[in-house]
Symmetry: C2
Subunit: 395 residues, 2 copies
């Protein structure tokens, strides 16, 4: 299945010609939602157009440590607002001494900071998770992840400016998109504990209010003109089209904090009430090349992919191992990009495949000694899937 889809995109030139000839219908007839969007560089597998949810193909993803914007997964919960920089305002209110409303120009007067940080959807790899038992929601493969350089101002600097009241404990983010859910319309929202907002470290700010991605203004899909970026946390806490910040004594009551992004067995109301919102991203890794169902020759084969440390301050990847014999033996991969807190690393390995090889497997171990589990307990909303990544191959 995967292989078929990659094949469908393999001949890029032919494909572009089909696009040009208005042959997009051919794609929708296949039942796969791939589209080529914009330039030739922009090659995303689109899961849905409204809201826009799309992810890159893995061979593209593994090409660089910093993901080009055009290869960066897009996760939206509502529409994609078309905002004007001039009229845009950010407000900050709640448990602060001095509520403020700021234009982009005023935000530009704060000290500017940059951080390279990986964002990943809590639902990354849900399609694998769904093989245990089907789960609703976007059927993400392994591409709902990307690493970018974000620039803007530190949330902590803004909080200092407005002054926190003693009872402040959480910071809420609210976007300008409109989500339709359960007969209601509301903006997407996130929330982080105040300790996270204030946890600036040498490299990573606790949270950044970012106006640029890879040194260019955010695109509409990625939150133009302003978004929060919370290194180490699941993508849902990095809120796009950010227009309101509320300081509170509790987590946001927004649907996507209070109800949605939680690890639950059944998802009944009691269980949802008992569990905290998910914040930290999990230790993870994926094989990006070869792709699923690739035909390999017996002998030494190059394998590449990404590995993500968990969203725990100061924790990095210790090692990545690959197996071609169902986990009986493991070959340590070479980490080919620098280690940095809250950032993925690229890795490559040469491994001997034989006529017995049915699949390639990868697992990562972090600097605390925690390894990805062989299997993961199923959860009703399909989050944080991080079992060993297995890629079936033919020899």
């Amino acid at each position: 299945m995967l292989n078929q889809e990659f094949n469908a995109l393999r001949d890029r030139r032919k494909f572009m010609q089909q696009m040009a000839a208005g042959a997009v219908g051919l794609l929708s007839m296949t039942g796969w939602n791939q589209v080529l969007r914009g330039a030739d560089d922009r090659r995303l597998l689109v899961h849905s157009n409204a809201p826009m949810n799309a992810e890159p193909l893995l061979p593209d993803l593994v090409k660089s440590w910093v993901t080009p914007v055009d290869s960066f997964f897009i996760r939206s919960h509502g529409n994609t607002p078309d905002l004007k920089a001039d009229s845009f305002r950010l407000s900050i209110e709640g448990l602060v001494e001095k509520p403020l409303t700021l234009s982009l120009a005023e935000l530009g007067q704060f000290q500017q900071h940059s951080v390279t940080a990986t964002l990943t959807c809590a639902g990354n790899r849900r399609s694998e998770h769904s093989r245990i038992k089907a789960i609703k929601g976007v059927q993400w493969r392994e591409g709902a992840i990307g690493n970018a350089k974000w620039s803007g101002i530190r949330l902590s600097d803004l909080l200092k400016k407005v002054g926190l009241r003693d009872s402040a404990k959480h910071v809420w983010f609210e976007g300008l998109d409109t989500v339709e859910d359960g007969g209601k319309s509301f903006a997407f929202g996130g929330s982080i504990p105040l300790e996270k907002a204030l946890s600036d470290r040498e490299i990573s700010p606790g949270a950044l209010l970012a106006t640029t991605m890879n040194d260019k203004p955010l695109t509409a899909d990625h939150g133009f003109p302003l978004r929060s970026v919370v290194p180490g946390y699941i993508g849902a806490r990095s809120v796009k089209w950010l227009s309101k910040i509320v300081v509170s004594d509790r987590p946001s009551p927004n649907h996507f904090v209070a109800d949605v992004y939680k690890l639950v067995d059944t998802g009944d109301l009691l269980e949802v009430a008992e569990n905290a919102p998910i914040y930290r991203m999990p230790l993870n890794a994926a094989i990006c090349t070869p792709t699923a169902d690739a035909t390999l020759k017996a002998g030494r084969t190059a394998v590449t992919g990404y590995a993500l440390p968990p969203g725990v301050p100061g924790v990095s990847i210790r090692k990545v191992e690959v197996s071609a014999d169902s986990g009986r033996s493991w070959t340590e991969a070479k980490l080919t990009t620098p280690a940095s807190e809250f950032c993925w690393q690229m890795w490559s390995a040469e491994i001997a495949v034989t006529s017995e090889t049915k699949e390639l497997i990868v697992r990562a171990t972090d600097s605390r000694g925690d390894s990805q589990p062989e299997t993961v307990r199923w959860n009703a909303k399909g989050y944080l899937y991080n079992a060993w990544h297995r890629v079936p191959v033919q020899i």
Copy 2:
């Protein structure tokens, strides 16, 4: 060590004579904190006197499905208040239509209900947990658990009486004890989601406001004259000397909800803020006889103990297995008491021990198919330890 302690208590008559002769000093000289308290029936291992924390010895615990009050573990966080029934009042306030203050006589006018439910401390088995890496707090063995018949009124009936406002989401409990912590004095408090409070089932109320334990008024140690009992939840949510109920839109900010009873790796402020309070008790089991370091003859040996289903509605124990060969083979135990939601079961097995046997092991599996793990990830506060229970023996 355990064996030495059991030996110290073995000759009960001699021990009572020592007590009568004022020989209690002998015990404190040993460095063990056992005391005989009150009647001969009351034989608890006391971890601390102020606050009072004590647990029964396992051979006593396994004697009956309903634990006698005198063998029931005692968990206190502050003093043990000496309250008078006549002047006692319970208040209920917060997000309710009609706040009320009720005497015990007025509570007696509500429909009375009974439930047999197991309470267990979240820190049960912490002494085993501490062997991985030392953890502060009461070093509970496997006896911080007990099963009793509780009678009183349903919390849900009281909530109906006072009327809930739309924003009601959590119910707070506050006791009349005084906890000294971090230079502050405050009452112990618990909190449960509203869904739990309203989740009355045929047998189990979501929560009971109990005035009796095993058909007798609560003793001072167990919360006289009123306590909450929340079947399926860790003991810390069943608040003793209950005098105030607050209906709120969020969990209680009480130290023991907001900070203490949480599963955390390091316990830093950020991690505490990111995690939810622990509510449900875990699947668990322990071998109660033979006791640790017992000398057994090779051949068939009787093994007994308890098994606790997790605090998940409708889930019971499916099977209990015992091993005498380090987990290579398992013998299924016989469940000797009835299955009931949120209640432990007693079990017994006959197993062949050989000269090779170093330890006996038990593990339970619940009706969902989940089994106790062989090992448990260490957590900074030492909660929910439920690895296979291992008892070293000599043949």
